[in-house]
Structures are given as C-alpha cells and as structure tokens.
Symmetry: D3
Subunit: 323 residues, 6 copies
C-alpha cells in the first residue's frame, strides 16, 4: 500500500500544484523518503515496493528533467544496497539529495554573484529564481547593479522577473524581445536560468534564450546559465533526445483583437508556439553550478560526479528489470 | 505665393495622412511640380521660389529619408540649370522622379520574385509592401511558396503582413519574435523591407531585423532586403548619422494588465522601445534594388547612379546658400 | 537569308565542335559580323534580320554565359543606333568585342602572374586556360613556381592541367580531390578559372571549387579566380538564376569494375554528378579581370563597365520585342 | 617459450590477415590470455615472460592505436599486481578487455542510432563498421533513413559502405569526393568512423574527413565520429605525435590510361597519396563512445576512465624498465 | 632646360626635406606647374619636355604612393590633350590636383568628425595628421572626446600624436603596444591614418595597425582609416605588389643598454623591424575619403573616379612610350 | 613560537628575494615542513599552530596563485587528518608537494619538446623558464629549431629570453611587440608561459599574450601555454576574480626623453601599464601540463585531480574557521 501523503505529492506534481524544478525534485525525494519510512513489510519486499513508488512518481510529468534525476538518485543507491540495508539507504539518500538541492541553490547564488562586478548591467530573459537570487545577492553585497530584461512573449514571464527585482530597489529596464540585439551592447554580462542541459553542453531553456546568446556572442558579452545539478540530463549522455514542447496557439492569439484572431483562424494561419529552444555550447561562456563555474563542454563531469556514468543507462531502462 | 495644393500636400505629410516612404516621396515631387507649373513670376525669381517650397516640404518630417531624396533630386537639377530653363527642369525632373519610383517598385517585385524558387519558405518580419508584393508575385507565377512571419512586438505590424498574404491563399505560419532562431532552419530565404540604407551598407529597419539577420547568417540562410533607391541615404556618405527613434513606453505597456502597468510605473521601471535597429553588411546577402541584386557594399553605387556623389553634401547644407 | 558560314558557326557551337568560353564568344561575334557584312537588303530591314541571327545563335547553347554576352554586346549597340548606321555598328561592335576578348586574356595573364611571387606554390583545380597561362607566364618571368593540382573526379580534367604545365618544366604535385584540405597548407596561393560569376559575387565553377575555397579560407591562403569579362552574368543582376547541370552517372561509374557497377544499378543506387558548384564571395579574395584585381563584391562594376546596367534586362526579354 | 597460438596471432596481425581495429585489439588480448594460461614457470618469472610476449605483439604493427591500447591495458594491471596474483590478473584483465570492446561496439550502435531521427539523411565517408551498424540499427527501428556517401578516392572504400547499406534496402546516393560541399545541405547529420583520437580532441581518419567536417560546420550540420575507446590515444596526452601514412602513387595512377600514367611518371610528376588527415575539435560536434555522447574536448576523460592518466607514460617507455 | 625651382623641389623630396604624403603630392604637382609655365619652346616639344620632368620627379622616392599619383594625374591629362592645348592642360590640371588634395583633407576632417559622438573614446595608433585633425574638429564642435593611443615602438611616433592632442586639452591615455587588446574594450571607435590602399581593399599602414584592427574586430569596435584619395594605389589594380620596407635594427636596439645590444649583435641575433603591415578588408569598417565614408571593397571606385581605370596601366609603363 | 627559518622564508617571499611561481610554491611548502618538524607542543595544539603559520605565509603575497596552492595543498591534508597524525601528514604532504612541482617541470619540458618538430620556428613572448627549457630540450634532441621573440615592452623581459636562448646557440629573431601579426606567419607554433589559469580555461599571462593568441588563431598557428599545475586557480572555480595588476607609469615613461616625459605629466596624460591580460579558451590550442597536453576546457580536471573540487571553497574561507 502506498501511503496517502505519497499519493498526494504525486498528484500535486501531476496537477502542477507543485511546480518549479527544485520543488518537484525535492518533493519527489520526500515522497520516496515517506514511502520508505512507512514501509512495514519484510525486507525482501522493499525493493519491488520502492520501485513501484518510483514508477508512480515518474509517470506524473514525464518530460521534466529534475523529477527523474531525483527518483533515480534515490533508486540507484537503494537497489544496489543489500536487502537488509535497502530501506535505510532509501531514507538516507533521500535526505542527502534534498540537502544537495538546497546547498546547490546557495552555492550558485554565491558563485554567480561574484561574477557581477560593481556598476554591472545584467541582461536576463524569462524568469529564473536562481538568476533573481544571484542579482539580489550582488545588490545586497553593495554592488551598484542594473538589469535589462525582456517581456518574454507570449506568456510575458519577464514581468515576474521585472517585479521581483524592481521591488527590491534594483533599477530595471524592460524591452521587447525584438530589441535584444539593439540593447545587448549596454550590458556587461548575460545570466539566464536553465531548463535542461545535455551531455554535449547544449542548454535547453525558454524560447528566445538562443537569440540572446547569439547576440551576446556577436557583441563579445559573456553569457552564463545558472544551472543546478538537477538540470543536467544523464539520459542525453546516451543519445536520449530532448523534445521541445509546442504550446497552444491561444497563448499567442489571446491578446489579438477578437476580429483579427477569428479571421486568422478562418484563413487557416498556423501559429507556432515552442516553449524552449537549444543554445549550442559555442555560444555559452560557462554554467554556474554547485561544483563551480564550468565551461559547457564539462557537462559530462557534472553528470559523472553527481549521478555516475551509468545514470543515463538506468533512466532509459524499464524500471522493473532493475530489481 | 505658394499654391494651396502644395500646402495641403505639406500638411498631409506632416500629419501623417500621407504615409509610406514611396507615397511621401512621390507626393513631395508632385508638390514641387505643381509649384513650378503655377509659378507666374519672372524667370530670375524662380530658383529662390522653388527653394522656399523645398524648405517647406523638408520641414514636415525631418527624419524620413525618402522625403529629402525626392526634394533634392528635383532641386539639384533645377538649381544647376540655366535661369531660363529652371522652371521646365523642375517640372520635368519631378515627373522623372515619380516615374522612377513607380518603375523601381515594379522592378524590385520582379527581381525579388525570381529569388523565390518553387516550394520555398520565405521568412519575413514586420510589414513591407515590397516584400508582400514579391511574395504574391512569386505565388502568382505558380510557385508553391510558404511564409513564416513574426508578430513584431510591440505594434504587431506582423499581423498586417499576415493578413495580406493569408487572404491571397498563401500559407503563413505566425510565430512570436523570440522564436525566430528556433524556426529559421525551416526557411529557405529571408526577405525584409528597408527603412534607410547607409553608404557603408548598413540596413536600418524595424527593430528585430538585426536579430533575424544574425540568426539567418548563423544558419546559412540567405538574407535579402527589398530596397527602393529612395531608401538609400546620400547624407550618410558624408558621415551623417542615422538616429534611431525611441517610441512611447505605452506601446509596450498598453497590453499589460492595468494593475501591473501601474505598479511598474510606480516602481520607476524604464521601458525602452526603439523603433529601428542596425543590421551590419556582413549579415546581408544582397539588396534587391531597381538596378538589380547588389551586395550591401555597393550602396554607394546606387547613391552615385541615382543622385550623384555630391547629393549628400547638398543635403547637409543650408538650402538658401545654394541659390 | 542567313549566310552559310553563319549557319556553320551556329552548328559548330551546338555540336560542341567550337568549345571553350572565349572561342564560343568570339565565334558568335564573328558570325554576327559576317551576317552584317553579307546583308544586302535595305536599311530598314537590317534590325529584324540581325535579331533573327542573334536568336539563332542564342539557341545553340542556352546555358553558357559567354555566348549571350557576345550576342547582346553586339545586338544592344546595333538596335540602339539609327537605322542608317545599324549595319556599320554591328560590324564595328563585333570587331570591338573580339578585340576586347583577346586583350582581356592578355591582361589577366599579366595581372595574375604578378600575384605569383618567387618560390610560390600555386594550388589549382580542374583545367583553365587562363590559369595555365598565368602560371607559365610567371615561370617565364624567371620565378621558381610549383603547382599542386587535383585529379578532378569524375572526368579527371586535372590531368590536362597536369600535362600542360609539367611538359613546360614546371614541377607539379598531383593529389586526389579528397586530399585538398590536407595539402592546402603547402600552397601560397590558389588560382582557379571561372565558369560564370553572378552580380552578388558568387563564383560558379567546376564542382569541388567551393571545397578548395573553403579550405583555403580556413588556412588563410588567398583564393583568386581568373575571370574574363565574358564570364560575368548581367542576367543575374536581375535575379536570373544560374542552374547547375547534372551530368550522367556513367561518368562516375565507368571506371568501376563491371560487376560492381551492374550490382549498384540493380540495387537502384542513385549516383549524382553535378558539373559545377557555387563559391560564395566571402571565400574569394579577388577576381583577376581585364579591369584589374577586384574584390568579388565589385562584380556589378564589371557588368556595368563592360555591358551597361540594362544588359541583364535585355537578356531576359523576348528578342523580338526589342526591334 | 611462447605458445604457438600466440605466435600465430602475432603473425596474423603482422601480415594483416587479422585486420580492423577491434579485431586486432581483441586478438592481442586473446594472445596475452593464452600466453598467461599456458605459463608453467614459477611465479617470479611471470612478469618478465608476459612483458616479452607484449613486446612481441607490439612490434607487429607499430602504428595502429588499438594494438598498444590492448597490450598495455593487460600489461599495466598485470605488472602492478602482486607476484602471486600476476598470472590471474593477466587472464582476468584480458577477458575484461575483450568484453569491453564488444560492449563498446553495442553501446555505440545503440547511442548513435538515437541521434538519427525519422526521415534523416546521413552523410558518411569511407567505410566504418560502426557507422554502417548505426545506420542499419536506426533503419531496423523503423526510421526512414537515407544515406549520402562518397566514392573515397583513391581506394574507393565508399563502395563497400554503399553496397553494405544498399543491400539492406536503405536508399543511398553516391557522389564524387569533390561534390561533398555541394550535397552537404541535403544531409541532416554526418557520422564517420575514427582511426585515432588524440588527447586534445583531434580526429585522425581517412583523408577527406576534414573536408567533410569543414563543409558540415559551414552549413550548420552536426558532425559525429563513432569512436570505440580503443581508438583514443593515451600516448598523445604526452605529446606523442600521430604520423600520417603516405601510400603508393600507384593507388592513384592505376586507373589512369596507360599512356598517360607513363608520361606522367616520365615527366617526374609527384603524386601524393596520404591515407589520413586531421579534423580539429572545433569542427566536431561530439564523439559517440561507449561512455556516451561526449564533446571532443573530453577525450582525456575517456583516456582517464578506460586506461588511467599514466597509460601514455607507460606506452612511451621501454617495456623492460617496467618489470 | 628644367627650371631651378623644379630641381629644388625634386631635391627636397629626395632628401626628405619635403615629407608627408600630402605635401609631397602637392609639391610634385607644383613642380609640374612651374615647369609648364616656364616652358618657352614650341608646342610640339612640350610633351617630351614635361615627360622628362615627370620622370625626374618619379625617381626621387620610388616607393611612396602619393608622388606617382600626383605626377600621373597631371601627365595623363596633358599627354592626352592636343598639342596646342598641352601646356595649358598641364597648368590647369596641376592647379586642379592641388585644390583637390586640400579639399580632400577638409572633407575627411569634416566627415570623420561626424563619426565621433559625444563622450566617445577614440583609439589610434602611430601619428596621422588627418586623424589628429578629425579628433580636434570633433572636440571643437563641443563633443566630450577622449583618446587612447599607443607608444608605437620602435620610433615612438605615438608621442607626437599624444602631444598634439593633449596640448589642445583633450584627455589622452597612453599605453604600450602590447596592451592594445587589453584596452580596446574601453574605446568606441578606432581611427587610424593610411599609407597606401590597394584595389582589393587592403590597408598598408604603420606596423601594429593590423593588430589593432584584429583586436577591434574581435571586440566589435568599428575600425576606420582616414584616407586621402592620393593614398589609393592604381598600380595595385593591375597586380602591382606593395613591398614592405624593413628598417634598421638600430631603431630597435638604440634604447637597449649598451652591453646588452653589443652582446646581442655578437651572438648574431637578428632584429627585424618592418615599417608597415597589411590590414585585410574584412577587418576594416570603412575608409573616410573625400568622396564619403565607403566600405573597403569600394577602393576601386575611388581609383576610377579620381584617376580613371587605366591609371595603373600607365603607372606601370615606361614613361617614354607614352609620348 | 614560529621558527626563525620560517620567518625568513616568509620575509623572502614578501620582499621578492624569493620569486618565480615554482620557487615561491616550493619555499612555502618547505616553510610548512620546517614549522611542522620543529613543533614541540602537544598534539591537540598542532592544527591551530600550523594554521597560524599558513596564515603568515598567505599574507606575504596575496595575489600570486602558486603560493596559496602550496599552502592549501598541505593545510587541507593536515586539517583533515586525525589529531595524532596531523604533524606527520604536514611533513609528508610538504615533501609530496615539492616533489610534484619538480616532476611537473620535468614532464612539461618533455611533453612540450615533443610538440616541436624538426625545422620548426617557435614564437614566444615575455620570459618563461618552462618555455626556454622546452625549446632547449628540443634543440638538444637534435631538432633544428628557431625562435622569434618579442621585446615585451615596457620591461623588455623578452631580452632575458633572447639571451638565454641565443647563448645556447639557437637562432633567435627579435621583433617589436607591434610586429607580432606581421611575423606570425613565419612561425610553426606559439608557446608561452602562464601566470594563472582559471576554471573556465582563461589564461592570465603577461600583457600582449592575448594579442599573440589572436594573431596565431587568425593565421592558423597552434598556440600552447606551458602551465605547471600550481598555476591553475581553484578559487576561480567558485567565481573568485583574477585581478589584473596595473604597474607604475614610470616603467613606460622612463625611457622617454626627459623633457617629453615632464611635459606629458604636466599635461595630465594618463599612462596605463597593466602587467597581464586575459586570453580566452577559444584562442588556445592546449595547455602543456604535468598530466599531459589538455584542451583549455579541461582546466577543471587539473584542479580536481591535483587539489580536489573543494580546494577553491577552502581558499575563499577564513582560515580559523577550518580548525
């Protein structure tokens, strides 16, 4: 029997009540911890039981990268321990994982803020808690920092960033997405978040990120991505493809005058709305990670240090075969 | 006495009732023609008279490039002709200029459509009559052409392009500005319009154009700008700077929910909204002009052939000194 | 009645008895001269007559660029002269054209040889009379010059170059096409011929030329193309597309052992064999022309100086409309 | 006394009866295993004995990289174990090495096939078993895959690839080497094999590979090399140079008509025929290895994980000093 | 008889009493004017006479480009006029040339100063009167301009620039040559002078110029060269090579402590000291010329407009053949 | 009580009697060894005592990278050992560190010399013992090697290199800093030393190094930096900034004629004199390290292998907190 709290967490992830890569990852680890603690069967049944819980969690949001990273982190350690220690291992590695996520966030904030010098102008795109925290940390350290941020059409997440930073007293200049190349010369540094990072150093992030990276590269402005270890994809090491989500045309059309939107639909105009794009490693100065500031080509090292070389292999396997 | 029709044209340009680079240029030439025809003074007074009319026209919209190109085209020829032929020259060169603008449009449509091969996907940005006509011409010639176009925030002029093309039965895919780099790989060719072109081959056009050019260059897609001769700036040949117009923050904020817009204004957030940006010649494959498909470095040749080397010099002079 | 010698020349071009860009161009001009000289009708009939001859010549090899350049050079001048002078103009401009082709060859040989310094190694591809003459001229001037040349699969035209140069005592190193990038570092300069040159500075030449240009660019070796004015395409100025000829698969397969070639054909393997490829202007240092050493962006200037801006326009028109 | 089977294997490698990097490596490991199993002397004599066998094997083909990788893999482990365990270690590590080579091949096939999406066109050069297997694996998974491959002058190994793929029902287009840049735009991905890979990420492979990489880079097509761990050179980590083999001019001339070949030889024309060339890391997207898809800069990591940092040091040492 | 004043001018140029490209050019034209005015022979003797004078002048400093440009400007016009008008033509074209040089200087100062915006930092190298005048003109127009300049080892000509600018009250920062790349980011624009410009857009200027251009290009800073028309080389259009002067090792060694300089000489150390280097067109934004701001690829246009296409041809000819 | 010899070493480092990265590092390790050996207190007091000594040493030259690398290498190991073993650990790890520095130097000399082939010309800048030893090693191995080196204004350290190499009989060509790009084409390889290397692969070295790297990259010449492991900065992994030292203007002005220097000072001219600059990883072929020839992106691996991931973290901490 799977405990009720575990089912609630799974449901929270599925319905997006629990959202944000870190929170999802920590909640999943927490669910595994609870499941282990509440287990009252005999030792030999524990591994099949925890595998079932893992499966349940994995099916809630199959495309996010932080969720399987959490689940496999705990599962690998648990399945490879002896029968008598499996339950203890599950509990301990859940705790360890959660601690690492929190520490990772603190370190990234600390390392990232060192990259911002006094009187720097930081350019960012979309909304990333890590980036907001880096900027505010630099500001709290007394640096005179300014920010340029984009609207980030179609969902205008740039407005969240804008408000969070501005209300702390940091000067922000807000520009349309199409003006990125025009204003990039005013910036000293670009820092964005990260959705997923592949083993060959590609950054998958909010659509428009690759624009900003290309313009920064052309202008000679360093481009950083703040990337917790849970964003790195072990599966990509084995050729696992990252699929770009295409969202509803309505997100684009909803702000169009009604008559026009209707006419466009009637004319059969296709409105495409990809959520993410790929930024190649040659446009990225470095990732800001919990292990330090590393060039994009070293993504594999993060995967190896945090998950082990075989993590991707396991992720691409049918779970039941592992027990 | 300046004829009433001339004053009406000047007023029309000033109040933007008359708009679009071609129409402004042709109307200004027409105004000079009318002024010359109606002139009834003696021959020696004609040159000061027509200079005064030219001055009147120039002051209506000082920043557009097609207006002074029209005025100086007629004025140079008139002032350098003999006293007795000056009036005739003014009439004849006005007619000639208007004919050339029309012919220029036809030729660009014709040359540009040849660049579009069967089954080509054309990427465009903002709204340009020349580009729309090029695409529809290729379509009428039986080529299966598709179009990708951007929203073009903040004024959404991409919607005009979208409607004009879609209602003629051409398939259009509409994407947010931030998705340009993501979709550029689906295109075979980029064609945009032109606001102003400088002597060293820079294209000044709707903000976001330089983005599109940079992404096309990275992806190896040819990038063309359809540019009537009236868009080339003789003044730039002599170092005359092209100033980018910054438009009202309201154009950006007007679609934001009221509470947020108010809060942002209260927080003193700066919203910048440049109308244009610069695309450097190394990102441009060629301009489509009335003299043919030419590389951007040959802008000077267009200026020389259409206006003469000294046109810029005269444009930067106080008019009265010329008589 | 079209004179018999004219018909013979037309036939010679058609059946490729007359071949090579220069010879075709000069023969066509010669044919027009003969046609004009033999004309015995009244003055008013001359223009339709010569237009008919022009048409005949143009249809012999529709894709070569030197042929229409010759025909239109003479035709434009003839049609725009007065009725009474048309015949004389046709004769004079034929002579002028032939003289210019010869002089063009001499000048290119002279200018090109100056680019070769003592102890230079010249890399070339395929076979070009102009390039062979440039190299031999430099050799005759006492420079110690060496040559690297490619096989130029599938027709092995590199062997012709190899023999022509080697038998004059110049040291030649012969390499497979796939070894170009390996040996480019041993060269000081690349010189190739030209088939056609477009108004935006693209070089159309024997397939493999763009390879050599790309490798030379990467290695920092200057890349020149020896280009008589008859190779520049006025039609391209107006968007006229240059179509790449695909030749028979047999040219590739003929040297394969019989059993294998048969098996491949049975398996339905497609063997593609394009005759030419495009080299973009950014990979070309300069063209060696009769007007001097010019950067590729100045192709338009050659077209303008040698043929006039409207030459392309006329080439793309139905001839009969011109009379 | 060295066992007869060991001598036969050594002879097989030397006379190229045993060929192909994997087979050579596995045979060498097998020879060491046999030598260890048959050893009947006392424990203290084992290390000198196995060193002697290693030396014998190394001298059979001094330039291949997979042979020393096999020998040193076994030897390092054996020499660093205690006297009493040395023989067991030799047997065990030989088995381990052979298993790893086989597993490496399976993993590369599996990871590589994931890089091929449905309807992809794969461009390849020369002949590589790994590449053929990757393509056929993708095809078996139901993807509609097409292939473009080169002749690969002068030995035409492209024909082997062509036949192996075509006879499995995959559509192949076959092109001359000089047409690579012309056709690269038709491809979605390039995958080639690998002869040797250096510690700074250079790929040494069949001459023409660097061409293909350069053209792919220019066109924005990803370029992969399928590289078993036995292809990575530990010696290069310590500055050991990879020497390019130059093969006989006859390989080029043999298909020339007799008279011409003779004349060329008489004229003293030099025909150069390098077997390999260098592709620099900036032209390589990633290597497909048994540890996953890794950027070329991580070659050192493969060397470290599979052989240890000091492997190169030992390879460059006189063997006898090691005992 | 050649007039005494003419001989004095020739001597002044030869002994470098008359120096600086403009002064040399104007003095040579002045000498030709005097020679023409003083001529008292009959009309038929004038052309041989003036050719002799021209020859005398050309031999004074064979490598400077402004001297032959002056001489041939006058000579071409004179020789191609009728016998009766030759003397008048020589006088008139001398005056015209001198006027053009002066006007050229004024225009370049005027156009160049427009490129400098308020609060701009200008980076320059070596010493150029045109650049100093451009900067001071911008300063006089009220712009707050600052300058970074190099020492320009070995002759430290940067000190001349430094003093001329600083004593007018403009802030100058002075840096060693090796620090160019470090400081380039602080500049908004680079402006240097020009020694010679070739037909394919290469700038020959003080050694170190190409460094500055390369660093500016990498950093995205525009790079201009102020270039009077007399610096453009018609001879280069025909392949005439520009030879770089190597100056005495003493210029480098003179500031070394005596013992060291002696020891180095004794050790046979070679000290190389080239006066100029080549900057390729792709590193140059534009030339500032009397005809306007033009991209480097348009050098040919300046040559054509100011001297005619055949100027180079004549320059490379033996003068006597021209009469 | 801190032993007198330790205080003397600290003083020697502070007053720059002890200089050069290796010597400083080894002396600091030696000081820690002496301090440990002389310690006579009880075991529990050793860690605070050795921390105090470490602090003393660290304060002598806070900006050098090799000093803290030495101190932390010993300190980390000591503090993490048990109370009873701390003193032994300090002694052992000091010895180990010194041995590693010496071995590192030998290996770099050995690996680097393998990169120099017979008849190679090596370009270098400033003075680096490692580079001089690499060149002399290659020379001793019988390779015909030549050297080009720069003056290295303002302190002319190039003269030291020049003398050390020339007096061993190696041919050296000495050139001004501004002539680097002019002569780079004559070189086959560039090898420079290293002051500090950051975790993202940037090389901090004598100002002018980045010039040389940029020119080498443009010309396709490989660029190496000989870098002992003590030059790699663990602190940079965590965002620790490398600050460039600006030295006195006198170093530049001292060789200026007195009147001029005074005048410049009076005019308030600023003379900037940075000691180092940054060379980005994309301009660096590889580092020559004791672990082998590695691409710049693998700096992190050196830090990890030699110091551990957390070394930087500890370096940025207040020492007392560690006990």
């Amino acid at each position: 029997m799977i405990p009720k709290e575990v089912l609630e967490i799974a449901d929270g992830i599925k319905t997006m009540r629990i959202r944000g890569a870190s929170l999802i990852a920590k909640s999943a680890a927490q669910a595994l911890r609870i499941a282990a603690e509440r287990y009252s069967g005999d030792a030999s049944g524990f591994k099949p039981y925890i595998t079932k819980v893992a499966n349940l969690l994995l099916q809630t949001r199959p495309t996010a990268v932080s969720l399987p990273n959490a689940v496999y982190y705990v599962l690998n350690r648990t399945l490879s321990s002896s029968v008598s220690e499996a339950r203890e291992t599950a509990i301990r590695s859940s705790d360890e994982f959660i601690r690492m996520v929190d520490e990772s966030h603190r370190r990234i904030m600390e390392y990232g803020s060192k990259l911002i010098q006094d009187e720097y102008v930081v350019f960012t795109h979309c909304h990333s808690t890590a980036v907001v925290d880096i900027i505010l940390q630099a500001f709290r350290e007394g640096k005179r920092v300014e920010v340029i941020n984009t609207e980030t059409r179609p969902l205008f997440q740039g407005r969240i960033t804008l408000r969070e930073i501005a209300k702390n007293g940091v000067k922000v200049t807000h520009v349309p997405d199409s003006a990125v190349r025009h204003f990039i010369k005013n910036a000293n540094i670009v820092i964005v978040g990260a959705d997923t990072i592949t083993s060959d150093g590609y950054l998958v992030n909010k659509v428009g990120t690759s624009h900003l990276a290309l313009a920064a590269w052309e202008a000679g402005i360093p481009f950083y991505s703040a990337a917790e270890f849970i964003k790195f994809s072990p599966a990509s090491l084995e050729g696992g493809e990252v699929v770009i989500e295409f969202r509803s045309a309505s997100e684009v059309l909803d702000i169009y005058p009604g008559g026009l939107a209707d006419e466009l639909r009637r004319l059969g105009v296709e409105v495409l709305n990809p959520a993410f794009d790929f930024t190649p490693p040659e446009l990225i100065t470095a990732f800001i990670t919990n292990l330090g500031i590393i060039p994009p080509q070293l993504s594999v090292l993060i995967i190896k240090e945090m998950f082990g070389f075989s993590a991707g292999r396991i992720q691409l396997t049918v779970l039941e075969e592992l027990v």
